[in-house]
């Protein structure tokens, strides 16, 4: 695998292989010294044109635990503010010697565009409303491992609640979850659903109450405040009344049901309940798994053809 731009680029076999590799990484992360030399001499540049804390730190931790060198570029403190073009930025960084770019951008399609201007691998760390493939992988890892599964979500129902339309997390998760056999239910007002989802193989529900007692996974999305300004929904109070996870609704969850959130959470808006009160919450587990899965992705992309196999890297 040269790039990871979209979940659509991954076959089910690719997904299963990455999650299997992530199991090894989880084992490494549990060691007293959580570091292996697998990617020694490789350089990973995280290039974030849009603010992000957790995803950038997660990728950088992943790279460092595999002993890769890391470079960080963030638009706020860079020559982008002096008018440098995307192409020039990438070509400049590329000239410094980069093996993989980890790219976040507010515009859909930017990671794909960047592949024209560098010979390095490109990993999409979130582009616009389009894709966030490592989030889908870590979410799938979290769900499968929580249920003791390996390579399928057959028979499991997953409700994704909130602003689906503007969510790259939702687009990525829906693709992977449905291909692994899960029943996916999108819970949102119509103004926060994408158009033409008839072909997506999903169901929809118009309130969290319709799904909360029935699903195996309740996946809460962040409600973005700017949506209110653009008149997409009437107001936060009405939103919360139909789509927030409240303590009363949480009591209706199945005992085995998982509660997930990609973060950052809006407490009091979509998360009225305190997640630490929920036995089924996997929200912090998602963050921990994010490092393992991103290690697996980096190793899959940069480890191939290297002197180290995973075992050598692990055991050296």
């Amino acid at each position: 695998m040269k790039h990871l731009l979209s979940t659509h680029d991954l076959s089910i076999d690719n997904i299963v292989a990455i999650l299997d590799t992530a199991d090894h990484m989880t084992e490494i992360n549990a060691r007293p010294v959580a570091k292996v030399p697998a990617l020694r001499g490789r350089t990973v540049a995280s290039v974030f044109f849009e603010d992000s804390t957790r995803t950038r730190l997660s990728f950088e931790s992943a790279a460092k635990r595999l002993s890769a060198d890391t470079m960080t570029f963030s638009a706020a403190s860079s020559s982008v503010n002096k008018g440098e073009s995307l192409r020039d930025t990438i070509e400049t960084l590329s000239a410094m010697g980069v093996d993989a770019f980890v790219v976040r951008h507010k515009s859909s399609g930017v990671p794909a565009a960047i592949t024209q201007w560098t010979g390095a691998s490109v990993i999409n760390a979130g582009d616009g409303w389009h894709q966030h493939p490592t989030q889908a992988l870590l979410d799938t890892y979290t769900i499968t491992r929580s249920f003791g599964l390996k390579d399928s979500l057959q028979g499991r129902s997953i409700a994704i609640v909130g602003d689906i339309k503007h969510s790259r997390v939702a687009r990525s998760d829906i693709d992977v979850f449905t291909r692994l056999g899960a029943e996916v239910i999108l819970v949102a007002p119509p103004t926060l659903l994408p158009h033409n989802i008839a072909t997506w193989g999903v169901k929809t529900a118009s309130s969290i109450d319709e799904v909360v007692g029935k699903v195996d996974v309740l996946y809460m999305l962040r409600m973005q405040f700017e949506r209110m300004d653009s008149g997409v929904i009437p107001g936060l109070a009405e939103y919360s009344s139909r789509f927030a996870l409240t303590p009363a609704r949480a009591r209706l969850l199945s005992p085995h049901a998982l509660v997930m959130h990609p973060g950052p959470m809006n407490r009091g808006i979509e998360m009225v309940v305190d997640p630490s009160d929920l036995p089924g919450s996997r929200i912090l587990q998602q963050v921990a798994n994010g490092v393992s899965v991103r290690m697996a992705v980096l190793f899959t992309i940069l480890g191939g053809g290297a002197t180290a196999t995973l075992q050598q890297g692990v055991d050296a």
């Binding site: 073009s85 995307l86 192409r87 951008h105 515009s107 859909s108 399609g109 930017v110 794909a112 565009a113 582009d127 616009g128 409303w129 389009h130 894709q131 790259r168 687009r171 994408p194 158009h195 033409n196 989802i197 072909t199 997506w200």
Partner: protein
């Protein structure tokens, strides 16, 4: 002007009265003879080709003044001549905009200086295309401006649009609308449909075009003023224009080659080359546009030739400007995409647009003795592969690079002068 004679030999002459195989001789800027066995100083081979009046493009962005790094009036005129055009209507979204006598004169004079085709300046509907203040229609009409448009923007304010129609009507000019309700297309990148939905980009819904088209058809009904509709892109738009014409309203409409040939699916790779406004739409829309072109609902094929410097298209899809080249590929793309006969090609590429552009007294004329020699010689059978590196335009943003097309312009004669011979520009 040279007094030597040019003979176009052995082609099929395409006229409103019918087709005939004949030689055509040109002397002193006029057609001097149409017949067989004609002799002259310069002989142009037209065997297997058609001889028609030169093409007239209702919709060309020449970018000068203001964006000369993308195109100049000279480079755009050369691209036009290579495409078989002997006249182009220069869109007014220049910088400064074509809202004053001074700018309009500049554009016309630069076109005359290039001498490759007739450059007909259009005027804005509103000053600086600001959607607020009317341009001096009478002063611009006195400069020969016939088409007025804020192309790139639709005129949003219905009161202003009504007044523009009422004011301009007695001046015998034509207002041309870019139909787009901008509130419905904020941030829009491509057609709102299944493709845009899965790509996660804001959509440009068909209704944004159709709402304004409907409004303006009703304003035409109210005011009696004539109106032309630019670059129709949706099935619903074709139906609205069809009905307006059935009602006897004085409306005309154009379609671009790219809206006849290319689908929104091409944007899946996020390549800004395929970003255009209005956006590429669906197979269903394409079929409706083709039907409208064939049945006469749509009067003209217009290129919306929109050059952009390479660096501006090397941006994220949402930031890159919309627009694609069209002049040098229009005939071939039309002929490849749509099953139209030769007469209809001449109609929609030359005769009708010449009337709409207000130059029907010297462009889009029959091939007959005494007529001005604005002539294109072209075929519908030559197969060639479009290469962005071989285009005369200063920009390279053709969506057809590497695509095999059928039909080619062989020679172009502008005011009696041979400007393109065997597909090569002579100046």
């Amino acid at each position: 002007m040279s007094s030597s004679s040019i003979v176009i030999r052995g082609g099929t002459v395409v006229n409103p009265s019918g087709n005939e195989v004949a030689d055509v001789r040109i002397v002193n800027g006029l057609i001097d003879a149409v017949g067989t066995g004609l002799q002259g100083d310069v002989i142009l081979d037209a065997a297997g080709a058609y001889v028609s009046s030169g093409f007239v493009d209702l919709h060309t962005h020449l970018r000068e003044p203001g964006k000369e790094e993308a195109e100049t009036i000279e480079t755009g005129s050369r691209a036009a001549a290579l495409g078989g055009y002997t006249a182009v209507v220069a869109m007014p979204n220049t910088d400064p905009a074509q809202d004053s006598v001074m700018v309009v004169r500049f554009v016309r004079e630069r076109g005359e200086a290039a001498g490759l085709c007739e450059v007909i300046p259009s005027g804005c509907i509103t000053m600086g295309r600001n959607g607020a203040n009317l341009v001096p229609y009478a002063s611009l009409a006195a400069e020969g401006v016939h088409i007025f448009t804020d192309d790139g923007n639709g005129v949003q304010d219905p009161l202003l649009m009504r007044r523009a129609l009422e004011y301009a009507a007695p001046l015998n000019v034509t207002l041309a609308q870019h139909c787009e309700v901008s509130r419905l297309t904020e941030g829009a990148v491509m057609h709102e449909g299944a493709c845009c939905s899965s790509m996660g980009v804001p959509g440009w819904p068909a209704i944004a075009e159709e709402l304004m088209l409907h409004r303006d058809i009703e304003l035409v009904r109210l005011t009696g003023a004539r109106m032309h509709f630019l670059h129709l892109s949706t099935k619903g738009s074709v139906e609205l224009v069809r009905q307006a014409k059935a009602d006897g309203l004085p409306v005309t409409a154009e379609v671009t080659p790219h809206h006849l040939a290319l689908q929104d699916e091409l944007l899946r790779g996020f390549d800004p080359l395929f970003k255009v406004n209005p956006p590429l739409r669906t197979a269903e829309d394409i079929e409706a546009l083709k039907a409208g072109l064939i049945d006469g609902t749509i009067d003209a094929v217009a290129t919306d030739h929109a050059p952009h410097a390479a660096h501006t298209k090397e941006q994220p899809l949402d930031a890159a400007p919309p627009g694609m080249l069209g002049l040098e590929t229009a005939l071939a793309v039309l002929n490849t995409a749509v099953n139209v006969d030769v007469r209809r090609i001449a109609e929609v590429m030359s005769w009708n647009p010449a009337q709409i552009a207000g130059v029907g007294d010297h462009q889009g004329r029959p091939i007959a003795v005494g007529e001005p020699a604005n002539i294109a010689v072209w075929d519908t059978t030559s197969v060639w592969t479009v290469s962005r590196d071989e285009l005369a335009s200063r920009s390279k943003n053709t969506p057809y690079h590497g695509m095999e097309v059928r039909g080619r312009v062989r020679h172009t004669i502008f005011r009696g002068e041979l400007v393109v011979q065997e597909g090569k520009a002579l100046k």
